[in-house]
């Protein structure tokens, strides 16, 4: 499995990949905004209730935003640059 092929699937305009591309675009954009909203809410919750595991919760939430951002960047890279 070549990583270039993975990007090629997203950037390829072939009819076979349209279904995949639509799902990936929809999911990635939705997931990015979802992660942002969750992150914002967790910050509000953290202010409301300061518990000893809040640091871990904030860390995992930041990780979720980072993952969503990486997915979005891969998508942009594949669609516009290749």
């Amino acid at each position: 499995m070549d990583p270039k092929n993975i990007l090629a699937i997203i950037s390829d305009l072939g009819i076979n990949n349209i279904f995949f591309k639509l799902i990936i675009v929809f999911f990635t954009v939705f997931y990015y905004f979802y992660a942002l909203v969750i992150s914002k809410q967790v910050k509000i919750m953290d202010k409301t209730l300061q518990d000893k595991y809040n640091g871990l919760v904030l860390l995992i939430t930041s990780l979720q935003v980072t993952v969503s951002l990486i997915l979005l960047l891969i998508l942009i890279l594949a669609i516009f640059l290749i």
Binding site: M1, D2, N5, I6, A8, I9, I10, N17, F20, I23, I24, F27, Y31, Y34, A35, V37, I38, Q41, V42, I44, M45, K47, T48, L49, Q50, D51, K52, Y53, V57, I60, T61, Q64, V67, L71
Partner: protein
């Protein structure tokens, strides 16, 4: 509160004298008890998550013939991200829905679907009646149930749903009420 035998138990769902702070906490207000839903009540989404993982594994056998390796990789990546997000969403829902008993009041903090926040407070002096409801096979086995705190006047009633050791929690509240009323 030192004589209560359950200091902290079942995955942090019952904590006596916890080291927490909340935004509306007054000066000198001490937190005696923190309650969350019993972990067993979270079994629904835990089983659903396991089902999703099994479904993904089974699905991989079927889609192998229709899609190439890279497509399957992307499909799996997004599916796993979806499952992990679903798990995290439910963990947050559980973690931030707490009941707090302080030296001055009882507070119920709810975050419905993570997006909606609702905080209900009842002053200890306004509490009229406390009801514990715990019935059924699993409630008895895992010692969890709901506490309904009725207040006087226009103050909202407070509910702690499916919390661990409800009887012990009510004992703590009753002790605080006795202290408050000086008996």
């Amino acid at each position: 509160m030192e004589n209560n035998n359950k200091k902290s138990s079942v995955f942090y769902s019952y904590s006596l004298n916890p080291q927490i702070k909340f935004d509306t906490q007054e000066k000198g207000e001490k937190v005696y008890l923190q309650l969350r839903s019993h972990p067993f009540t979270q079994i629904g989404w835990i089983l659903t998550s396991i089902f999703f993982f099994i479904f993904l594994i089974v699905l991989n056998f079927f889609i192998r013939g229709f899609f190439n390796l890279e497509q399957i990789f992307l499909f799996n990546l997004f599916f796993i991200v979806f499952i992990l997000s679903y798990i995290w969403f439910n963990v947050l829902n559980w973690y931030f829905n707490v009941g707090i008993v302080t030296s001055k009041r009882v507070i119920d903090i709810d975050f419905y679907a993570v997006l909606y926040k609702e905080i209900t407070t009842a002053q200890l002096g306004k509490i009229e009646d406390i009801t514990v409801k715990s019935g059924g096979y699993f409630e008895s086995l895992f010692d969890y149930g709901s506490i309904f705190i009725q207040t006087a006047g226009t103050e909202a009633n407070v509910e702690f749903i499916d919390v661990s050791h409800p009887t012990d929690a009510v004992q703590v509240i009753n002790k605080l009420l006795s202290k408050k009323h000086g008996s």
